[in-house]
């Protein structure tokens, strides 16, 4: 992780990564790589970003000891990295601000983004408003329906939200459409990709902008507990940006167990979940070589998750390598488990988590009771749940109706 472990000069993490894009995008990717590598070493760029992260976005975000819930579960102590308290309600702003500054530096007047849950879209719309950039966000129609509040937020921030009605009308299709826009308007547009996905340099650049999550958390843990390293670090994994932001801080600490939680959806059949390590295999999607959920003949599978942000058939290349190395253990939380965890945190601690983050919480709640009370579990609470009120209500209603039907 971080600089040492990759990627190599061709953008590969082991056998994952690369630049699988149409020729038209190769020169712009080279331009972006040069601009990023220059910017990240420039003090002025870093200083401007740090200032925005502190004064505008609200960093550092707190680390919170969920005492009551930990006691109730009767095991390990659960600490929540409160990225849900970052401006715009999720960790996504770290990256959106970084890339928007970069776009301005490259002289691009327009930015585009894809969004699933809407958090990256809101973050990009926010950064664009802040820096005076034109902004278009691509979002699947299905996601626009289930994340309606975020659609409204993006529009209020001055962004155009373009509905995507192709394919499964979710995140995957939004990325397709964003790539088509980029290939068409490449000369004056920068594509702010929102996860550790896509062609080099995106996987490492997006990771780097999120490293602050883990760096803060280790400092805060030391202050709160006297210990710098948790026993477990847990994050949900869609593309993997919040997971790498947290996990990278522990790359040199093999004693910290890293656990990535994928969306288990409603079942184990292809199309019922978004668990790339439970049925995915080597493929190429959206510019990168990685684990991909697909059929035997290389057509990309549709996925399902109650959380729009995890509903995606591929995973970031670095996380694919960390899987093969055994450094990150992967598990799944089903829709039902995630919604249950949502309720548990809401009632137990007074925090409404994003349904994405609720997947990580579900795993923490599963593990905590089996660990001694002096053990520490660090969970990345990557986003807040305001956007999910309708999804949770719908889910609970459908479950209650199904249960009633069963009784009769």
């Amino acid at each position: 992780m971080a600089d040492k472990a990759g990627p190599d000069k061709d953008g590969y993490f082991g056998e994952y990564g690369g630049q699988y894009v149409p020729e038209t995008l190769m020169a712009p990717l080279a331009e972006l790589t040069r601009a990023y590598d220059k910017a990240r070493k420039r003090r002025a760029f870093q200083r401007e970003l740090q200032t925005l992260l502190a004064d505008y976005a609200g960093r550092p975000t707190p680390l919170y000891h969920a005492k009551r819930l930990s006691a109730e579960l009767g095991g390990a102590q659960i600490y929540l990295k409160r990225e849900d308290l970052l401006h715009t309600g999720a960790h996504k702003l770290n990256n959106a601000l970084g890339q928007a500054l970069l776009a301005r530096g490259m002289g691009k007047a327009r930015v585009i983004a894809e969004t699933g849950a809407g958090q990256h879209g809101v973050a990009t719309a926010t950064a664009a408003a802040l820096l005076g950039l034109e902004c278009t966000v691509y979002m699947g129609e299905e996601d626009m329906r289930r994340q309606r509040p975020n659609v409204h937020r993006m529009r209020l921030l001055g962004a155009e939200v373009a509905a995507v009605d192709s394919g499964s009308r979710t995140l995957k299709d939004a990325i397709n459409e964003a790539l088509r826009d980029w290939v068409t308007h490449v000369r004056h547009t920068h594509y702010i990709l929102g996860s550790v996905l896509g062609p080099e340099p995106y996987p490492r650049m997006v990771r780097d902008f999120h490293l602050v999550i883990g760096q803060e958390a280790t400092r805060q843990l030391k202050r709160l507990t006297g210990r710098r390293w948790p026993d477990l670090a847990i994050a949900c994994v869609g593309g993997g940006s919040n997971a790498l932001g947290l996990f990278s801080a522990f790359s040199a600490r093999p004693e910290v167990r890293l656990i990535g939680v994928e969306a288990g959806g409603t079942g184990t059949g292809l199309g019922q979940h978004a668990a790339r390590f439970q049925g995915g295999r080597l493929g190429v999607l959206h510019g990168t070589r990685t684990y991909v959920l697909q059929d035997d003949e290389g057509q990309i599978a549709t996925t399902h998750s109650v959380s729009a942000g995890l509903d995606y058939p591929a995973i970031g290349p670095e996380l694919a390598l960390l899987h093969d190395l055994g450094r990150v253990e992967y598990t799944t939380a089903s829709d039902a488990e995630a919604v249950a965890a949502f309720h548990t945190l809401a009632r137990g601690e007074g925090i409404l988590p994003a349904l994405e983050s609720a997947h990580a919480l579900a795993e923490a709640f599963r593990r905590a009771p089996n660990l001694a009370p002096d053990r520490l579990i660090l969970v990345n609470l990557s986003g807040r749940g305001d956007k999910d009120l309708e999804s949770v209500r719908e889910y609970d209603l459908a479950t209650a109706t199904a249960a009633e039907a069963e009784e009769e």
Partner: protein, 272 residues
Amino acid sequence: MNRIDEAFARCASEKRAAFVAFIMAGDPDLTTTLVLIEALLEGGADVIELGVPFSDPIADGPVNQRSAVRALTSGTRLAGVLDLVARARRRWQVPIVLFSYFNPILAQGVGEFAARAAASGVDGVLCLDLPPEEAVPEFVDALAAEQLAPIFLLAPTSTKSRIRRVDELAQGFVYYVSRTGVTGDRAELAPELIRETKALRRRLHHPLAVGFGISTPDQVAAVGAVADGVVVGSALVRLIEEHGGAAAGPLATAVRELSEPLRQKKKGWFRR
């Protein structure tokens, strides 16, 4: 000399650009595609580009996207496309180039794919999302082992060093994307296209075909005057969308009308 080289050499000897026709295999179904290939040949196509349908075609505009959906819905997969090529090959000697995304090929295994494609009578393969950086060495070597031509794209954003690289690696011809963007017909050609095509053609040792957004006889005439080949895709795919199983007649007529300017243009044909 393979079939692609022969076709471009023959057109050059007739002092004209080759007409390259693109359709998606399996739209509306594979049996019909065989009939449609015959229609393309009747109309005067010199090279056939067959699309392999893919679920996530990031370089394609709406017309080709819908075509891929119809092909996938009819059950068309890469294996079926290769069977179709084998059937076409028993009847015709026209060069056939596959136009695909990489994932279906990777799923089959690059070596296995190349062997099967060659056995079916495919002449060249263009992978839209496989630039030279990713095609070397595995893909290019696998094609070379089966004497298949790797076809690469160049775009208005391609730098001089990329142009050289592609010219070194390519066989058959080089495919120039007429403007930044996805496939699909447009009302007007990019204003700088003719100048750029001329300049690019001088740099290349391979024939240069130009595509993406060429859809009218006037556009074919303009591009055909300065290139070795003109690719028309979405305009033909649109006819298949409109006429479905009955598209053969309209398709043959369209190809005849679209390729006619190339046959008339002999005098003005741009020499390298």
